[in-house]
């Protein structure tokens, strides 16, 4: 079980969190004309990366904040965690 450093609450076990997918995906702006391809990329197309991956988790059984977690998908090593509005360095 992963041990995730919630930037708001500290070290907590994975079972307090729920997974939210790739954090690098950016929702297209509202009211903007976009191609089918752009929209499909946003809704469906994800890279199944091996290695360092920035992903979203929500601390649902804690502060309920969405956070960003930089994790190695192969080794599960967690490099750093960020608040939702924090710049990822």
């Amino acid at each position: 079980m992963l041990y995730i450093n919630c930037p708001h609450c500290g070290m907590r076990s994975q079972n307090e969190f729920s997974y939210g997918g790739d954090a690098s995906v950016k929702r297209p702006e509202l009211n903007k004309e976009i191609s089918d391809k752009e929209w499909d990329d946003f809704v469906y197309n994800r890279k199944s990366l091996r290695g360092k991956h920035l992903e979203l988790w929500q601390h649902i059984s804690g502060c309920r904040q969405w956070i960003k977690v930089e994790r190695d998908t192969a080794t599960h090593e967690i490099f750093k965690t960020f608040k939702a509005d924090e710049e990822v360095a």
Partner: protein, 998 residues
């Protein structure tokens, strides 16, 4: 019954406490401190089971967790447990156990015929034989295999025992209480670190209990006792016996199973049977020791053949002789230690050493005691069927290929030592890249991936002096990093006998003309010949060889067989062992009770039960409850002998003619506040929200980004910047997360806060033509007329002194209201409604009537919003704004979603107006069409229309828009029904929606 093989003195059992127990129906005696295995051996019982495939007689091979044979069915306090190792099960008064995998009895086992058919049962036999003819699998092969296979029977009764889970955090977790575990725990504890020391056996000390060593002028055993006693007094140390750390998971999370009660005749009141510990450790020290490995020879599975270390343990810990004429067969000095113990207890062993001329202190001691030692000698085959009677032995050439003349010598047990295999399971599970250590012919941990270190024999270090030194240092250094303390420990001096190099010899060649079975895996009956076949048939990867032959796949996970299997593959393949590699070590290290894994989360505790504040009233009024997610909701309120159908029909009918009240507390409720609240709703819902006035409610549909409907519900504007959102019961948590996602990540600029208020409000829906009269009676000071509180209106009211929120919304399609009060007043509100409603013939109604009412109105719910439908499919496209953007809007342009013949909700009525259509039935054009009959749609919900008194269903139907009036068939192969139906509008009752506005 006498314990004929118990020596007069010695051992650690309590001879004052005699215990009686039963094995295969026969009564025996043992002592407190025995295992079932040691007690049986004390009584001379060696035959305990039959092997898995050939049903050959099986005895005891080890003395602990590595035991491959002695798996029994245990009976304790009215419960039965399969797959219990007799070598681990502690004896208690009244214990009962039976052999497994034998029928009719262990002495006469019909399955043993497989032993004579064994040439027909080679590796891969199942894969090759049971494949054809196909129809034979279900009728003949599977039932036969099921009957023949298995190691015991699981109880079908509810388990009365309790199992607990515990979460723990520590600085150092130490797995194993042998010399390395004790030394490192002691050093770390002295530095003030929080230490957990776990030992799987009842006694602490590991190898110190059986080895002839001195530490700091005490015997090893006494030193261990002293250390443990001191550790137990320290507040920063948790010392646990009977506790097996069986899994090493990510981020230094380890799981340990503590057997709290298995050693007792029955579990003490308020105690669990087992406790599962989830331990998050900063550092892990693995001191799991090593397991002796066998040497492979003919008939090496005969009862009486066992590990030499086990024989020594039975003698030193339990005071039991495994035989009176022992033969010790060894390739290293460990066998001599066992021989010396035998000799000290007046038994004359014979030692066969595969080495030509070994020399060491231990060997010298054996010689001085006058033990008969034969060098360059091996056991070719054990003789005897249910017990070893003699051994065929022979001289072996230096290249280990040629056997000399076979001699037969009498013996009653053969104690084998093929050197030691470090127990690297935990290290390997942690992700450690193991490496092969030539000097010991075994794998040891290599590069660590997590914060773990392996010490002592588990790391391939077999010298006690070195083990203690490295372990004291490791415990001290690692704890120093955490606590910053630096307590100096004087490492005690050690007296131990030096060993000589072991012989890289593991398998005795077959003599000419003999075809003895030489077993590698004792539990799964995998012999040398099976692995040879697998390789001959082209299997190369050790993972494939394992699966094809089942080598190492039994419940003992090949603790004694893996390495010899690798040796064999490497020899045939002409590769070195590290090039062959080893199979993956996976948790659990040893079988763990399902009960322990499940813990307390069984039966009604498997999930929380949520009850509304009116629950007791429902109970008192004969509500029959149904699970709605984790909520318990009344399904109907039974009157007399009514069944569900009759009761729900009565309740629904009463709503249509008088007035009914339904507990809607379970609906999800979300409070939304902030200047941008309207903007959030406008983006989340498909319809427009910016112009909703204060005091008004609106129905809304929200989509996922892929255009699929996620949820629906009403949201009410309570005040300028304050909204009250309702969600369906099932989606409440998801919708909250959904809103939080967009507010925190996508549109953080919106100034809005959301919070769940589901538990804060109790809700009652009052529905029916007389609902306004009732409402007026409940709120005499409020104007609830059609003008004062129009459809989709909202007001606050005073319910006999309790502040209430009144929403004029309707799910039933009737004139209806929803009254909310703070949860604590829920029951008060409910009772007032029932009391005031009496004159209007009010009846409470449950979820079944609620469904009936919404289905015949064509209102959609979870069965239509099933994660596969878009607004159009639910006839909700009128709520989709063309002007503004919202979540999921772009997806609605996808070609499948705008197809001409897109599926759509319709009503379905059986032509005979009698036959109810099972939910899930498929709609087809031709009921006689060949399979697979093209499916046009499916029935999503069915009810008995109380308005028309005939069955009515909703369906999602292809091209549903143009199908009204068509005749189709509803087919339910599950219910074996074919029903001719007509497609009608989904708005079966009051299609113009006049009632809700009346």
């Amino acid at each position: 019954m006498t314990q004929a093989f118990r020596i007069d003195n010695g051992g650690l059992v309590d001879r004052e406490k005699k215990l009686s127990f039963k094995f295969n129906g026969k009564t025996y005696f043992g002592y407190q401190g025995d295992t079932l295995a040691s007690a049986l051996l004390a009584n001379g019982v060696h035959l305990v089971g039959r092997s898995f495939k050939y049903h050959r007689p099986r005895g005891f091979f080890g003395a602990g967790v590595d035991e491959p044979y002695a798996v029994v069915q245990l009976y304790r306090n009215g419960e039965t447990e399969p797959n219990v190792k007799a070598t681990e099960q502690e004896l208690f008064e009244g214990l009962e156990a039976k052999s497994v995998n034998c029928w009719p009895s262990v002495n006469f086992d019909i399955g043993a015929i497989n032993n004579f058919l064994r040439i027909f049962l080679p590796a891969g036999f199942y894969y090759k034989t049971f494949m054809w003819p196909k129809s034979f699998w279900y009728r003949i092969y599977e039932p036969f295999i099921r009957k023949a296979a298995g190691l015991g029977v699981a109880s079908t009764k509810h388990d009365k025992e309790r199992y607990e889970h515990k979460y723990e955090y520590c600085d150092l977790l130490i797995a194993g209480s042998g010399p390395s575990g004790l030394a490192s725990a002691y050093a770390a504890a002295k530095n003030g670190a929080k230490v957990i020391l776990a030992e799987d056996k009842p006694r602490f000390g590991g190898s110190l209990l059986t080895s002839d060593v001195n530490i700091g002028n005490q015997s090893g055993k006494d030193w261990a006792e002293g250390i443990i006693a001191e550790l137990k007094t320290m507040p920063n140390v948790v010392v646990k016996n009977r506790s097996q750390i069986f899994g090493y998971y990510d981020h230094n999370m380890l799981v340990m199973s503590e057997k709290v009660s298995d050693h007792l005749p029955s579990t003490k009141k308020y105690h669990p049977n087992k406790r599962l510990w989830y331990i998050r450790a900063k550092e892990v020290l693995i001191s799991s020791g090593s397991i002796e490995r066998p040497i492979v020879f003919g008939n090496n599975d005969t009862p009486g053949v066992m590990l030499s270390s086990a024989a020594k343990e039975y003698l030193k810990v339990y005071g039991v002789l495994v035989g009176r004429k022992p033969l010790v067969f060894t390739n290293n000095d460990s066998g001599y230690e066992t021989a010396i113990e035998f000799k000290k207890h007046g038994v004359d062993p014979i030692v066969l050493d595969s080495r030509k001329n070994p020399e060491s202190e231990i060997i010298d001691e054996a010689k001085n005691l006058g033990i008969n030692i034969k060098n360059s000698y091996v056991v070719v085959a054990a003789q005897g069927y249910k017990k070893v009677k003699s051994a065929d032995i022979a001289n072996i050439s230096e290249d280990k290929k040629q056997l000399g003349k076979i001699e037969n010598i009498q013996c009653d047990c053969i104690c084998v030592s093929g050197f030691w295999t470090p127990t690297i399971h935990l290290a390997s599970q942690s992700g450690n890249k193991t490496k092969f250590k030539e000097e010991i012919d075994a794998f040891v941990p290599g590069q660590s991936k997590q914060n773990e270190i392996t010490l002592g024999a588990a790391n391939g270090v077999f010298s006690l002096e070195e083990t203690l030194k490295t372990s004291f240092t490791a415990g001290s250094e690692l704890s120093k990093k955490i606590t910053k303390n630096d307590y100096k420990i004087a490492i005690p001096n050690v007296v131990e006998k030096k060993s000589s190099q072991h012989d890289k010899f593991w398998c005795v060649p077959l003599p000419k003309g003999k075809n003895y079975k030489r077993f590698l895996d004792f539990q799964n009956d995998v012999a040398v010949s099976d692995v040879e076949i697998a390789l001959r048939e082209g299997y190369r990867s050790i993972e494939h060889v394992k699966r094809y032959t089942t080598l190492g796949m039994a419940t003992d996970q090949g603790k004694t067989s893996n390495l010899n299997g690798l040796q064999l593959v490497s020899e045939i393949e002409n590769k070195v062992v590290p090039a062959v590699g080893h199979t993956t070590f996976r948790p659990p290290y040893t079988p763990v009770s399902i009960g322990a894994i499940v813990g307390r989360e069984v039966g009604k505790h498997s999930k929380p039960t949520r009850k509304s504040p009116m629950h007791l009233w429902h109970e008192k009024n004969n509500a029959v409850f149904v699970d709605a997610g984790v909520w318990l909701r009344p399904r109907y309120y039974r009157r007399g002998n009514e069944n569900l159908f009759e009761g729900s029909k009565r309740e629904a009918k009463n709503v249509r003619t008088n007035v009914g009240v339904c507990d809607v507390t379970t609906l999800g409720k979300i409070d939304i506040k902030g200047p941008d609240a309207a903007e959030l709703l406008n983006r989340v819902y498909t319809n427009a929200w910016l112009k909703l006035p204060v005091g008004k409610a609106r129905y809304g549909v929200m989509l996922r980004e892929d255009g699929i409907v996620m949820d629906d519900g009403t949201t009410t504007r309570i005040s300028e910047n304050h909204y009250h959102m309702t969600t369906t019961t099932a989606q409440a948590a998801n919708v909250l997360s959904h809103l939080e996602y967009y507010l925190q990540l996508v549109w953080p600029e919106l100034n809005v806060n959301v919070v769940s208020t589901t538990e804060q409000w109790a809700g009652a829906a009052i529905a029916g033509p007389k609902s306004r009269d009732l409402l007026q009676k409940l709120f005499p000071n409020s104007d609830v007329s059609n003008e004062g509180l129009p459809f989709m209106g909202y007001m606050e009211g005073d319910l006999f002194g309790v502040k209430a929120r009144i929403y004029r919304i309707s799910f039933s399609g009737e004139l209806a209201y929803e009254v909310n009060v703070e949860s604590d007043y829920g029951n008060f509100m409910w009772e007032k409604i029932i009391e005031a409603g009496e004159e209007f013939n009010i009846q409470p109604y449950g979820t079944e009537a609620l469904s009936t009412l919404r289905i015949e109105m064509g209102h959609v719910a979870g069965s239509e919003l099933d994660g596969r439908t878009i607004p159009f499919d639910n006839a909700l496209e009128g709520l989709v704004s063309k002007k503004k953007d919202f979540i999921g809007k772009r997806s609605l342009q996808r070609s499948a979603f705008i197809a001409e013949d897109r599926q759509r909700i319709v009503g379905v009525v059986p032509l005979d107006k009698q036959t109810s259509i099972p939910e899930g039935s498929h709609l087809v054009k031709d009921d006689k069409a060949p399979l697979p009959n093209p499916k046009l749609g499916h029935i999503s919900a069915s009810c008995w229309s109380v308005e028309y008194d005939n069955p009515f269903s909703l369906a999602i139907l292809k091209d549903g828009k143009n199908m009204i009036g068509q005749k189709l068939f509803a087919m339910s192969p599950l219910k074996n029904k074919v029903i001719p139906v007509e497609i009608v509008s989904s708005h079966y009752v009051d299609p113009k929606g006049e009632r809700v506005r009346s």
